[in-house]
Symmetry: C2
Subunit: 107 residues, 2 copies
DNA sequence: TTTTATTATCGTAATATTGCAATATTAAAA
DNA sequence: TTTTAATATTGCAATATTACGATAATAAAA
């Protein structure tokens, strides 16, 4: 199989899971941390900073963009990737919501 | 490949990613929500509640246990799965830490 | 002790993900 | 216009994940 049965879950569950999934790779965590630590926008310093091939980094960046956590601006030849702060905070709220709601009453 | 190069990332990055990864499946999100909504401990009501085979649910439960979010107690023939509130809150703090630190200065 | 109910594990098929080399694409620079 | 540099995309190969049937393991009930 290998296929996730998304249709049996509700939208909130699928959205949350999708978001967690994208963050569920150390390279993507590292990318977010690195981007946020720069004062200026970075581009493919990432390839050197993290030890993965350019194609691989590009793929990870794409996934982070897909859930809106990163936005990219073209600056001449280079790309400037930055954290989308609004989206970032929305997600943080959603997560806290999930964490606060999901607390046990039992045992 | 398909293999993640964990050795090139630091412990924090790998830990965070591992945690996100486990939460990155709608069935596991649903399990956590369902467990937390019960007043008593539940066992394999989950199999009926969520529409997946018993073997599959058991597997997902195992993964949630592996990062300490769920704990299981044997009650006769049944298993009582509960949220590990301490671990839950620790993780919530870690996540908020990550979210708060990772905010952009650029663009 | 045998049966029954509940949960875990094993084996396996189908699909997804990771990573990279090779190759586009794009836009500035020469 | 040609070259060069930066990034994206394509096409794999290797590995991981998801899901489930079959089967084992466990403990109460009969």
């Amino acid at each position: 199989m290998g296929i996730t049965k998304t249709q049996i879950f509700n939208e909130e569950q699928n959205d949350l899971a999708q978001f967690f999934k994208v963050l569920g790779h150390p390279a993507r965590v590292a990318i977010l941390q690195y981007v946020s630590n720069q004062n200026a926008c970075i581009c493919n310093d990432l390839v050197e900073e993290i030890g993965l091939a350019q194609a691989t980094i590009s793929q990870h960046l794409k996934e982070l963009k897909s859930i809106g956590l990163l936005k990219g601006e073209i600056e001449g030849k280079k790309m400037c990737y930055c954290i989308n702060v609004e989206r970032w905070e929305t997600l943080q709220n959603q997560l806290n919501n999930f964490f606060n709601k999901t607390k046990s009453n039992c045992c």
